[in-house]
């Protein structure tokens, strides 16, 4: 294939084309991440952890040491690794189900302990891998396989505000932001600052990326982008939420 020049160096060409669905948001996030790994030249000391969820499809995605863990357990595996080897740049990559539902205790407690790891979370408003069930981030009224009549916030609460929650419980040296695949340049900037935060041993870092799941949203290209840029943006505010000793952007 001749699309090679666009591929970050840290991407493993042997495993491309990747295994995500056409139009998926995961590869866009992983491209931003790959470029940051290139720019900071840290492939040799990065450990990429992927969750169970569609992120598991990235288990052989990078030319970077990678660990596929259990659903929701990527954060503690990477935390344990970083505690045992401080030279490691630990990245835990997961979906909204993995981070805000089953793994929420790990996210909360790692942030509270100010672990020096970077948690990167793809928010696609539902459980992608298992076929589109309701997630903590599902929008009010949104139909999913387990909210077939639309999410009823009376019964299931409002969409979880992940970065805001992490910002509220983490120390002042944490970096917290929400980006979107609708603005990859900005997302990349957030990822870079997050990685620098853990590289310099300053504190916890968390970035949520608003992502795309045309397969389970059952949307065409146009509606897919409309959903992330209009519907999701109504509930999830894009921008930096916590920046150690700096002015926020966005």
């Amino acid at each position: 294939m001749s699309v090679q020049p666009q591929m970050p160096k840290s991407w493993r060409s042997e495993t491309k084309p990747h295994k995500f669905c056409p139009g998926c948001g995961h590869p866009l996030i992983l491209k931003a991440l790959g470029e940051v790994i290139d720019e900071l030249n840290i492939a040799d000391r990065t450990v990429f952890g992927c969750d169970i969820g569609c992120s598991l499809l990235a288990w052989d995605f990078f030319n970077v040491d990678t660990i596929q863990t259990h659903h929701g357990r990527t954060t503690p595996v990477i935390v344990g690794l970083r505690r045992a080897n401080e030279n490691v740049i630990g990245i835990a990559y997961m979906g909204d189900g993995g981070g805000y539902a089953i793994g929420s205790q790990h996210l909360v407690n790692s942030a509270a302990r100010d672990e020096k790891v970077f948690v990167l979370l793809a928010n696609n408003t539902q459980y992608g891998m298992t076929g589109g069930q309701m997630a903590p981030t599902t929008l009010p009224g949104q139909k999913t396989e387990t909210s077939p009549y639309g999410r009823d916030t009376e019964l299931t609460g409002p969409p979880v505000q992940g970065p805001e929650m992490v910002a509220a419980i983490s120390g002042e040296n944490a970096y917290v932001a929400r980006g979107t695949v609708g603005n990859v340049r900005q997302l990349k900037k957030f990822i870079k600052k997050a990685i620098q935060n853990v590289m310099e041993g300053r504190g916890f870092a968390f970035v949520e990326a608003l992502s795309l799941c045309p397969t389970n949203w059952r949307t065409n290209a146009e509606d897919t982008w409309k959903f992330v840029e209009k519907d999701m943006a109504t509930y999830f505010k894009v921008g930096e939420i916590k920046v150690p000793g700096e002015k926020k952007e966005g």
Binding site: I52, L56, Q68, H70, H71, G72, G97, A101, I102, S104, Y127, M129, T130, G131, Q133, M134, P136, E145, T146, S147, P148, Y149, T156
Partner: protein, 360 residues
């Protein structure tokens, strides 16, 4: 409100759909769950149908929570259930261990998938040991292993009754094949078959004023002294052993004069049965014994058949989980026991025929 099923009818559907219908027919009032393949469609069907019959659903943040919320539903006096698979079943073991200790009649449908860890989302019989003996307990549980959609329907209904009658956590052990395949069966309103549903009763908030006209409920799972715990566990053990003969179920196929006895449970017993049919046509003396309850295990019945045979073969889609059960119950029997293990993989009639021929 109308009944989910009037009388009886023949249908052609997937196993996950069967479970949802059975739970509705059994009068289950609330399901708690967390997504996992191959269990998902139980929740999908339930969330579509349940509101029409005034039943409820809660999607929790994980299986630890699905299991514990389910115990809460039961303590409130509702026929409550949950369903899971694989790594979800692993997490379920904590709440199920509390249910075992506190005699909480939860119903859990297990759709076994490949293991250990995340493994495959497809199929296996590798959750046999965990479903029978998971958690830090003694396995005081009731486990039905089903082989057909008809059994899946029958035993899902029965699970609610067994659980509430005997007050031990009850499990229906299915698998990914059963979840996803379509075949025919009859679904029915239990009443149409004169099946009476055992009443569910609250453990707490039973009416009256605690301390005034009734004793308060003080439910616990922690004991101060070894002797206290010992008494509690021995009580459970005596009770469990006493009721076991009433609960035990098994199926025998051509066992009467069998020299070679094939032991298999769940969906694998279909292959064993098919193999016996084929080998019998060639005049081979082969029979099949299928334990339907894995806990309690039909020990006496298997022992009798095994003693009369010249060879036992244990066949399973796991690496020795049924084999362990069988051996522990065949203590003292001198008939040789052979194994055919395909961990995480389906087993066909052809394979069983071929394997059995080695011993004929």
């Amino acid at each position: 409100m109308t009944k989910p099923i009037e009388g009886e009818k023949k249908v052609f559907m997937t196993g996950n759909e069967v479970v949802a219908w059975a739970a509705l027919a059994a009068g289950a009032e609330i399901m708690y769950g967390y997504p996992i393949t191959p269990q998902n469609e139980i929740m999908h069907y339930w969330t579509r149908m349940a509101p029409k019959y005034g039943r409820k659903f809660l999607q929790t943040e994980d299986e630890i929570s699905a299991g514990f919320t389910c115990t809460g539903g039961v303590l409130a006096g509702k026929r409550a259930f949950t369903a899971t698979a694989g790594p979800g079943n692993t997490l379920m073991q904590e709440p199920m261990s509390m249910a075992e200790m506190m005699r909480i009649p939860t119903v859990l449908i297990v759709c076994q998938r490949g293991g250990p860890s995340t493994a495959t989302v497809i199929y296996s019989q590798q959750e046999t040991t965990m479903t029978c003996y998971g958690g830090n307990g003694e396995g005081f549980r009731i486990v039905y292993s089903t082989a057909t959609h008809q059994e899946l329907f029958d035993y899902t209904i029965k699970a609610f009754n067994t659980a509430w009658k005997y007050r031990f956590p009850t499990f229906v052990l299915g698998d990914g094949y059963q979840s996803k395949m379509r075949e025919s069966l009859s679904i029915y309103d239990p009443e149409a078959r004169n099946i009476e549903m055992v009443r569910a009763e609250p453990y707490v908030v039973k009416g009256g004023v605690p301390g005034e006209n009734r004793d308060p409920a003080h439910l616990r799972n922690t004991y101060n002294m070894e002797e206290e715990l010992y008494e509690v566990i021995m009580d459970h053990a005596r009770e469990y052993e006493k009721i076991a003969p009433e609960i035990i179920e098994y199926e025998e196929y051509e066992c009467d004069d069998a020299d070679v006895l094939l032991v298999a449970h769940g969906v694998v017993s279909r292959a064993a049965k098919g193999a016996v049919k084929e080998l019998r046509q060639d005049g081979k003396k082969v029979g099949h014994f299928k334990p339907v309850t894995l806990r309690p295990f039909p020990e006496k019945e298997l022992l009798e058949r095994a003693k009369a045979a010249k060879q036992v073969i244990v066949i399973e889609s796991a690496y020795g989980q049924l084999d362990k059960l069988v051996k522990s119950h065949l203590y003292g029997c001198s008939t040789p026991i052979a194994q055919y293990f395909r961990p995480g993989e389906g087993i066909t009639i052809e394979e069983v025929v071929q394997e059995t021929k080695k011993y004929l």
